[in-house]
Each structure stands twice: as C-alpha cells, then as structure tokens.
Amino acid sequence: MLTLENLSFGVQEDRKEKEIIHDLTLSIDDHKFVVITGPNGGGKSTLARLIAGIEHPAQGRIIFDGIDITDKNITERANLGISYAFQQPVRFKGVQVLDLIRLAAKKKLAAADACTYLSEVGLCAKDYINREVNASLSGGELKRIEIATVLARGTKLSVFDEPEAGIDLWSFQNLISVFERMRDKTDGSILIISHQERILNIADEIVVIADGRITAQGPKEEILPGLLGTASAVDACSKFYKGGQ
C-alpha cells in the first residue's frame, strides 16, 4: 500500500543543514494498523508530514498503491486516498463543524449523516454540528472533530499525528475505543504516531524511530515488551499520578 524508499529530509538550522530523516525505508501493508513511536525529536511527525505531502523529501521516493507520489502535492495525495489528522488541529472562524465534515466527505451530507461521524468520536452531534471550528472549542473537542473529518473521508490510508496530544484523560479513554472501532471497521490502513502504551497495544505492527532512523520494527508482540517503561510507551496515567504527588 505505502512504501517509503530511502527517504531523507533536512532543515536549515543556524546556517547548517540538519538532517531529520536519514535514508529511511518502510512499508505499510494493506489493512494494517501500524503505530510509530520513539523519542521526541526523532522525526516521527516529519515522517507523517512527508507522507501527507506537507513536506517534500530531499532524497528518496514515496510509492502509494503502485503510484510514485513523491512529486505530488497535498491535494493530489488527498484525492488518491491519503488522510492526515493534525497533531494541533486548525481553527477556522466562521466555518462550522458541519461545513468541515461535508468538505471532508466531498458531498453535501445531510446533517443527520454528518452527525454519525461526530457520534463515532463521542461528541453529542446536535450540540456540535452548527458550532464554529473556532477558539470556543476545547483542545479535546477540536481533536475529536479532526478525527471525525478523517473518518468522513474513509480513505485507504489514514495518518494520525499524536492523536492523544492535548486531550484530557477522560477523552483519552474514549479515543482508544474510537481507534479500536476504526481498526475493526476500516478497509484501509491506519498509521498512528503515538507514545501511548494503550494505542501501541492495539497495533498490528510497531515501528520505533529515533534520530531519523528505524531502530526497531515488527509485530506488537515482539516490539512492545521492550518498550514498556520507556518514554516510547507511556502509561496514560503516569503523568496524571506524577502530577498528584
């Protein structure tokens, strides 16, 4: 489904080229639920942005469903079947939740149909459908709406960049069940960037990235035990408990 071949990507920092992704090769098979983890600053989010077309690699190719999409822009990749959920969802003054879901679904959905996507992410649809996607929504609400837009697209590949970032513990519990349902229902592949043990725990496959390179890759059963207790597999409650001490 998706193959990254010898990808490299760097940025200019203090007039020097700093490489974020080094000669990285990775394949994501059809119908797979893959979680990418690893230390902060290791290049995970950059990798997601390279797949969505927001960033372009200095070297290497990206092949999606047999098509070389390396030179294709964000829109073209979206229309070929790649969805991308932002780590920090964007706010829009004046654009309603219903507008955004209709744009995602690419059809003039009836409000009731749009509501099913919101219910799916645990939002009481009638309270939200006419709200503006602006600063009046909390981080957790925005995050769920962001996920609902990806669900509404129903594409072959869905990429989520740290879906747990910025949401409260209560919402996080629900988020896990959203992903579990997606995993059961979807036809396509799901790629999630996450440090959360409970998300890693529902993966088919885990990829660990550090310093722009893959340091471990394989079925969950093989990889997860080695990650437990490290920053790459955080217990949802650990920060919560630490805060209480």
Binding site: A52, I74, T75, A78, F86, V90, K93, G94, A104
Partner: protein, 314 residues
C-alpha cells in the same frame, strides 16, 4: 397607492439587482417601496405601515404604528442607468412596542462609462421597547468603465428599552463606499451591528461608526468582518462613547490578501465610571495551516482559500 402593484415597469436587469439586494423574486409580502433609476416604481402599504413621499421627492417617510408585530418593510433601490447620481433621505418612525423587519439595499448595474452614484441617509427613530431588525445589502454589477459608488449614512435614535439589530453586507461590485453610522441609545436600549465587507480590484471602502451610550444599562456590540483582496483599501473606524452605566464592545476582524491595505481605528471613551467598554481589532492573512488542512481534505489551494473567505464572511 395601496394594494396590488404589478412589476411591469421593472426590467430584467433591475429585477436581478432586486434579487441580489433584497432577495426579491416577486411582489413581497407586507409594505414596500421600490425605487428604480431615481423614480418610485412600486409601493404598497399596510394597515399598520404607512409610506409617504417627501414633499421635495427626495425620499420617503415610513411610519410604523405602535404595537405593530411581525410585519416587514422592503425598501430596495436599484440603478441601471449609467451616469445617474442621486441623494435620498428615508426616515423611519417606529412606534412603541413594535417588532418589525426592515430590508433595505442598493444595487447598481453600470454598463456605461459614466459613474453611477447612490447616496442615501436612513434615519431611524425607534420607539420605547420596540424591536427592529434592519438588513442592508449593497451590490454592484456591469462591466462599463463608470464607477459604482454608494455612500450610505445611517442615524439611529433608540428610546428606552428598544432593541435594534443591523446587518450590513457589501460583498461584490461596489467601487467606492463611505459608510457612516451613528447611534444614540437611551436607558436599557441595546444595539447590535454586524458588518461584512469584501473588497477587490482597486475598490475603496471606509466604514465609520459612532455609538453614544447615553442611558443607564444601554449596550452596543459592533462586529465587523472584512476581507480585502488585490489592490483594494479598507478603513474601519469604530467609536463608542460610554456616557452612563453601560456596556460597549467593538470588534474588527480582517483578512488581508495580495496588495491590499487595511486600517482599523477603534476608539472607546468612558465618561462615567460605570461604563464598561472593550475594543478588539485584528488584521492578518489566512493562516498557512488553514490552507494545508483543507488541502488534506482534497481541496486545491484556490478552493481552500475561497472556502476560508466564504466561511469568514458568512
């Protein structure tokens, strides 16, 4: 003058303008006065709403009886003759305890090389505890070299406990506009103004508000959202004077694009320690992340931009 009026004297261009500015497809329900090319083209009154021409022919007086509920008045103006310049004064006298909707609007089609200009002054006298919704749309079309110019002036006098909501929209085709709105509020009166403006090409638009909160517990909220594209210029002045225990808020939110220029000049003055006044003004371009988000949903960059502008001005 009352009763059924057919629209046989309104041509197809004028009809299209009427549709743009007043949403009219046919003879509207309730009272109306339609002015085309400087002449009265159609009028209807109701048992509670009287419309009379001023003696000098330069406008109309609209009298709404006290206690009139759920009635509407349409008073659109359209110009389709190139080079026409007019100045109109319309006065609205709204009795106490009324609840009405007033739909104004001006459309200019200029297919010629001479400037067409409509200057209108609307004065509202809103009676005690009355509720008024006022909608005003401005629209221009035609590909002649002549400019389409509109300079609307609005003066509002609100008596005790009255409520007025004004919606003013200018989205397309007006080359030059200088809008001035002034309101005086008595005790307990509440005013809400929503303005939406889009300029493009070399258009110029200036909008100035002066709101005087004179009575105890009066309040005003002035909200302007605008988009300036290409080489257009916008100026927004909002002045709120708190002369009693009152609450005032003004907000100017603008998207700037291309080579446009926008300036926002909010001013609040408190002449009483119990006056609570706030102003907010923000000008900025469309955030790159907003475009990227919509592109990840499959929109092109241009479609994304149009969607963001439409949402913002909705």
């Amino acid at each position: 003058m009352a009763g059924s009026v057919n629209f046989s004297n309104i041509d197809s261009i004028q009809m299209r303008l009427l549709e743009e500015v007043a949403g009219l497809h046919q003879v509207p329900a309730g009272a109306y006065n339609i002015r085309t090319n400087g002449q009265m083209a159609a009028r209807a009154v109701s048992a509670n709403i009287e419309i009379v021409s001023k003696d000098d022919g330069m406008g109309i007086d609209i009298h709404i009886k006290p206690g009139t509920k759920n009635e509407s008045v349409h008073i659109p103006v359209v110009l389709s003759q190139s080079g026409l310049t007019e100045m109109v004064y319309n006065d609205f006298y709204i009795g106490d305890h009324a609840d009405v909707v007033i739909i104004a609007g001006c459309g200019i089609h200029n297919g010629g090389d001479q400037d067409s200009k409509h200057d209108g002054v609307h004065r509202f006298f809103v009676g005690k505890n009355s509720k008024v919704k006022y909608v005003e749309k401005h629209y221009g079309s035609g590909d002649g070299k002549g400019k389409r110019i509109m300079n609307p002036g609005t003066e509002v006098t609100m008596e005790e406990g009255s409520y007025m909501e004004m919606e003013m929209v200018q989205i397309k085709g007006v080359d030059s506009t200088r809008r001035s709105t002034r309101a005086d509020l008595a005790a307990g009166a509440k005013l809400i103004i929503r303005e939406r403006l889009l300029t493009h090409g070399t258009q110029f638009a200036e909008s100035s508000f002066v709101v005087n909160l004179n009575g105890q517990d009066s309040s005003a909220n002035v909200i302007s959202r605008s988009v300036a594209k290409e080489d257009s210029i916008q100026i927004f002045n909002a002045e709120i004077n708190g002369n009693a225990k009152c609450a005032g808020h003004s907000e100017c939110d603008a998207i700037i694009m291309d080579n446009a220029k926008i300036s926002a000049v909010p001013k609040i003055t408190a002449n009483n320690t119990e006056a609570a006044l706030i102003h907010e003004a923000a000008i900025g371009k469309i955030a790159g992340e907003q475009i990227i988000k919509l592109m990840t949903l499959g929109l092109t960059e241009e479609e994304a931009e149009a969607q963001i502008v439409n949402g913002f001005l909705k």
